[in-house]
Amino acid sequence: MTVIRTGTVSVRLRPRSVLAGVVVLAVAVGCALLLLSTGDYPLSPDAALKAVLGSGTPADAYIVQELRAPRVVTALLAGAALALAGAIFQALTRNPLGSPDVLGFTQGSAAGALLAIVVAGGGSLTLAAGALVGGIVTGAGIYLLAVRHGTHGNHLVLVGIGVAAVLTGVNGYLFTRAEITDASRAMLWLTGSLDGRGWEDALPLLGVLAVVGPIVLFGLSRPLSALALGDDQALALGVRVTPVRVSLLGAAVLLCSAAAAAAGPVAFVALTAPQVARRITGDPGPNLLSSLLVGAALMTSADLAAQRLVPGRDLPVGVLTGILGGAYLVWLLAARRRFAGGGRS
């Protein structure tokens, strides 16, 4: 533990968490730079950097600023938002499976997007709006269904699984009603894809993250770590349990719906990133900031692999995160290793 104290400010930092955060951030930035400078039109890192700063040739600037940067920024932000939402859900439900994929929010976003495609026949903006609204409506619905017996722990998980099952059925029905072109577009979106993302996808997500992120990281992180000890204990410590939980649920639903609107319901990032963050930091706390960074790194590295792994053929990023995240989770459960072994600081 390193303690910093100046005047009325006092903060305690774990060196291992700080180091892990820096390394993960470096991975995310490194992948982002690679994504900006490589591809069908390779640029030297120097030229790519100049293009980002606006001092390169017009052609370079167009490719980097208009084609590649929005996609990279969307990847960073969507990964960060999904991971932060996952970390909140997992801490609130005190269950490592308590992620938006399992709780039904992803299916809700999917239902909204499918409705937008099938019924409204809309373009990408309608689709994004549908995903956002679908996720938020599902979040509110699950909350109302669960609130009578308490929106904590396994109860929320069970209600969420039930809602997810219903929505999966609804989504299947919507697919059967869709035209073949609409269905394949919907399928691509459902897999999670960053293809052709523009600033109109990245900026709304940036807005949500810029508002919700600091509120969660600075305002709600400490009450959340008290809530992890149980509701009665949190109340005994002076946490206003219900308002704090409702704010956190709302923030998480908003984050994962906004991420789904921008990049589709990318699989497993919300589930995996908080688990990875815990294991590399060795910190039992909610690990919100480190989860956010891991999510951004996971998403950019998955997009890098998705674009470069099979030459001449881009894969949707969700295929990669699904395979990587799923394999990691299976390995985790099979190996059952203690994550914190020897990592005390």
Binding site: A226, D232, V239, R240
Partner: protein
Amino acid sequence: MTRLAATGLQLAYERRVVAEDLGVEIPDGSFTVIVGPNACGKSTLLKALARTLRPRSGSVLLDGKDIREVPAKTVARTLGLLPQSSIAPDGITVADLVARGRYPHQGLLRQWSANDEEVVQQSMLATGVADLATAFVDELSGGQRQRVWIAMALAQQTPLLLLDEPTTYLDIAHQLDVLDLCARLHSDAEHTLVAVLHDLNQAARYATHLIAMRDGRIVAEGKPAEIVTAALIEEVFGLPCRVVECPETGAPLVIPAARRAVLSGHPLVALDHGSGSNLAP
């Protein structure tokens, strides 16, 4: 009026009303123990005092003010609680868990003052878990774990501390360890303690103020030596008994009457182990 009191409480779970018009005053500086048969409302009363259960009517008063109108963090600096069950996050160390007791004294800018560090260390020393500071909570024995939770409650530095069945799931030696620790907090650190206990004799041995409840009412309260009589125990628990003076401490000691006499004429039913029949005579 004492620092912690309640008046006119109606306590209820969804359908079941547990207590009507219940009032209580916790004497300042006492080690108060609440006893009573199962479902008498003793844990419910403690939950109401700790504000984890909202009364249907009536109010809990902390320093004369309705506890619901005092900001949560302000209450948490005065009134601590050791709940019946708390959750230790996976992979948390003893020192980290105890440090979380400092929450009501901290803020966004003041996250870990020198005083926080000092208090956490003192709390671990007082409960005998300082040597375990870097151990993982989920690897400790039940007795050690309970002392860690008490250390966390101590780190909260509240003059009043409520304990909901702090000895449950512990063997007899660890039960006494925990109660000795409570007694020391009461006498050395001048905490006011309120505990719910199941064991009458432990209650009589450690309490300075005993509250006996039945059916949501307080049947008797006072010093154990003055109120624990065979008649009271029979009234509260329906248990015929003798009360003698404990040869170790001089506290009242409840000795249940031999049951053979009570059960005569009711031969035990032969037990069928295959179908999980019950033991009721």
